[in-house]
Amino acid sequence: MTQTLELVATTRIERTAARRKIDLRPAVFLAPFVVLVALFTYWPLIQLVYLSLFKLNRSGPDRFIGADNFLGVLDNAQFHDAAYNSLIYIFLSIPFKVFLPIPLAVFIWTMGAKLGNFYKAALFLPTLLSFVVVSIVWIWMLNPVMGLFQSVIGPLGLQMPSLLSDVASAIYVIIGVGAWKLIGFNILLYLAGLSAISRDYVEAMRLDGAGDWVVLRRLIVPLLSPTILFVAISTVVFTIQQVFTPIDVMTQGGPLNSTTNLFYLVYQYMFESFNVGYSAAGALLIFLLLGLIIAAKMIWFEKLVHYS
């Protein structure tokens, strides 16, 4: 009897001791990720806040200047142009990059596997190309003297306008090239979403008396809404950042700031005018803008979506 009691007592002590010892294994597995994210995302972010609030001084301590950088940036005409263009990039991108791929994806979805795969591959190809290469190729194609389009319409007595050096058109060229490159990728995302929709629903709806348009609007779009929201958010974020490359390669923000955007401007502040404070303040404002978009997604758009 006493023996048993002792035995029980020892096991209990051992168990408590084991419980007290913290299991380090999860921490070990998480460490690489935590370290990388902390080092390359959160530490720079903290630095960014610091840079935006201080004036760097080579021969003395940095000077705290409060919101001066932010006020300066917000008062800057170039910044206004860039902010305005950013909105144009976003809002014009949505119909072309988010909505246009929906009917295209549905069309491919209804095809047989063979033809569908061909179209998938053909439309996805631009996604694989480097944006720098794509931009250069488009510059050449659009060249009003010796470009591809000129060589096609030249014999008809027509003259290709100089789209990239015209304030009125340059931004649309960049939006178009961005859409051309991204559509295939978004189509693939939609096709992934569509593959989860049972074709029985479509057939049931057809027997209920629905035509193509009703099937698209009342069945496919609601069931695809989680994917649509995802594509919309990722496209907006992607558009704000990725459009940097075609801007830099095709127009450098010109003519007359007509194609610059916030991202490009922040880059110019930093690496062309070496205004670290403005650059940091601008970057934080972009961070804020993207944060607002994500918040809007979580507050409003999630409600419009049907999650099955």
Partner: protein, 353 residues
């Protein structure tokens, strides 16, 4: 209200013939069941009728109208799918009322018809739920309700009960049949379950490899199967089909069998018609190899030489395993089939039919 007529309807997928020259007329208000093993073409036939699959050749008529190439929405049919295909983003009420809404009926009228149909199927309390909040049986009712609310010309059922558990299946098939009788709508029902076919159908169409094997009432098909496939498919356990020669002298005893070429003939006997008699008076001797208890009755598996035969008898009459028994059956309960083609022979052989 409609009659349906298939005329020489074929469907091929590449090299494969899914439905081969289907000829069938379904009378107004009739409940026709297509039955057969998977891949026999029954579902394809239904889908062609619905307009969901193109017809390769042949024509389909509803009443006198040729609908072969018409869109599904022009055919005025309602279908209950195997997995019900309830729109997941709509409530039950919206699911049921969707077709009515497409016909531009007023909101009040839609609501009224939906609730009337829902009452009929006892699902009125579920109208505000979404399909994922329903049990399998409730979903099935909603699917049926969605079909009847439109008051269509034809009901199509594509294995609507195969996802239900057995008890529910039994009660649901009775309800569907009662509902169809009350509404009097011509119906085509596809199943692989011969019991569903037998219990529900006015007429059964048995298919195999795209070809119709037999069309007839359940009684006709049970009593006069057109070939060995039908004989083996309908009935549980299936009919015993043996080469006539295997029965030895028994074959010679029966007056009906005089003049039949034994080597070219198969004999079919339903298990419930096999009885045990004393070995001395029996024409056919067998050895019992297995006994399965299925309730009041049991299934006795016996071997006649290399052939196996199953008898279905009440339990007290069952022999023991390894016992040698004599077998007997009424002369007018045997079916004869041609050994090479499998077709039923001598249509007047079965005297009681």
């Amino acid at each position: 209200m409609a009659t349906i007529h298939f005329s020489q309807v074929c469907k091929t997928f590449g090299e494969v013939t899914a439905v081969d020259r289907l000829d069938l007329t379904i009378a107004d208000g009739e409940f026709t069941v297509f039955v057969g093993p998977s891949g026999c073409g029954k579902t394809t036939s239904l889908r062609m009728l619905a307009g969901l699959d193109e017809v390769t050749s042949g024509r389909i008529f509803i009443d006198e109208r040729d609908v072969t190439h018409e869109q599904p929405k022009a055919r005025d049919m309602a279908m209950v799918f195997q997995n019900y295909a309830l729109y997941p983003h709509m409530t039950v009420a919206e699911n049921i009322g969707f077709a009515l809404k497409l016909r531009r009926l007023g909101r009040a009228e839609v609501a009224e018809q939906v609730s009337r149909a829902a009452e009929m199927l006892d699902i009125a309390h579920l109208l505000q739920r979404r399909p994922k909040e329903l049990s399998g049986g409730q979903r099935q009712r909603v699917a049926v309700c969605r079909a009847i609310v439109r008051n269509p010309k034809v009901f199509l059922f594509d294995e609507p009960l195969s996802n239900l558990d057995p008890q529910l299946r039994t009660s649901a098939r009775g309800e569907i049949r009662a509902l169809q009788r009350r509404l009097g709508v011509t119906s085509v029902y596809v199943t692989h379950d011969q019991i569903e076919a037998m219990t529900m159908a006015d007429r059964i169409v048995i298919m195999r490899d795209g070809k119709v094997q037999q069309i007839g009432t359940p009684v006709e098909i049970f009593e006069r199967p057109a070939n060995t496939f039908v004989a083996g498919f309908i009935g549980n356990p299936p009919m015993n089909i043996l080469p006539l020669a295997a029965l030895g002298k028994a074959a010679g005893l029966s007056p009906q069998l005089a003049g039949v070429d034994q080597s070219e003939t198969m004999i079919g006997i339903r298990p419930e018609h096999v009885s045990f008699v004393s070995v001395s008076s029996a024409a056919t001797i067998a050895r019992v190899v297995q006994i399965e208890m299925i309730g009041t009755e049991c299934l006795v598996h016996a071997e006649i030489g290399a052939e196996r035969i199953i008898a279905r008898v009440v339990r007290p009459l069952a022999p023991r395993i390894d016992e040698t028994v004599g077998l007997a059956w009424p002369d007018d309960e045997i079916h004869l089939f041609d050994a090479s083609s499998g077709r039923r022979m001598g249509q007047n052989l079965r005297l009681s039919a």
